[in-house]
C-alpha cells in the first residue's frame, strides 16, 4: 500500500504573517520568519493541511513530494 506524501507550500508574497498556521501546526513545521511571511520546514512537515485550512489569506497549498 502506498500513500501520497505531501507538504505545505506558502505563497510568501501574499502572506500577511498573522501566524495562525504556526498556531495549528502539530509538528512546529511552520513559522513566521522575522514578521515577514510564513516559512515551512519541509523536513518536519507531514502535509496534514491544517495550516492551509486555517490560513485566512489562502496562501498555503499542499504539493506532492517527489
Amino acid at each position: 500500500m502506498s500513500t501520497i506524501k505531501r507538504y505545505a507550500v506558502v505563497r510568501q508574497e501574499g502572506c500577511v504573517a498573522c501566524g495562525s498556521c504556526a498556531d495549528v501546526c502539530p509538528r512546529g513545521a511552520i513559522s513566521v520568519w522575522h514578521g515577514c511571511f510564513a516559512r515551512v520546514d519541509v523536513t518536519r512537515c507531514v502535509g496534514c493541511g491544517r495550516c492551509a485550512r486555517e490560513c485566512p489569506a489562502s496562501v498555503i497549498h499542499l504539493e506532492v513530494r517527489r
Binding site: S20, D23, V24, P26, G35, P56
Partner: protein, 191 residues
Amino acid sequence: MKSRHWYHYLWIWSIIYFSLGFVNILFAWLGLINFCLPLLFAIIGGNKLFCNRYCDRGQFLRFFGSQAGLSRRHAMPAFLHSTVFRVLFMAFFFAMFGSALWTTWLVAGGVASVQDAVMLFWTIRLPWEWTSTAAVSPWVVQFSFKLYSLMLTSEIIAIVAMLWFRPRAWCTFCPMGTLTQGICKLRNKKG
C-alpha cells in the same frame, strides 16, 4: 503547536476591555496597549509576535472561530487581502485615529465640546450617558469615546469576517498587522 499556551486565553482580555468600557468609558484608554505593543515588537524585536501570539483580538477570533467552531470558513475574495486594499484600509483607519486625536486636541483647547457618545461605524450613535466622567478633563473623556468607538467598530468588522470567512480573516487587513509587517519587511531589507 496544538498544545494550549497561556496566550491562548488572551481572548478574555477583549471581553474585559469592552466590558470595562461599557461600565466606564475611561477604560477605553487601555486600548492604546494594542497600538503600542505591536509597534514595540516590530521596532525593537523585528517580529510580529504580537500578532502571532499575544493579540487579544487574534486569540478572540481563534477561540470563537476555530476552537468553538463558529466560523463558516468561506474563502476570502482575493481583493480583501491584496496589498492595495490592506494599505488603503490602514490609511483609512489611521486617518480615523488621527481625527480622534484632532478632536481631542480641539476639546483640550476649549474649541469644541465633548461628544459623549460611542459612534459605531462613525454614523450610528450609541448613547453612553451612564458613565460618570465629571472628575477628569474633557479631552480625556473625548479621546476615550473616540478610541472606544474605533475599537468597537473594528471588533464588529473582525467578528463578522470571522463568522463568514476564516477565523483570523480580520488579520489579513488589520491596520496594525499591515503596519508591523511593513516595519518588519523594511528592517529585513536593511539587515
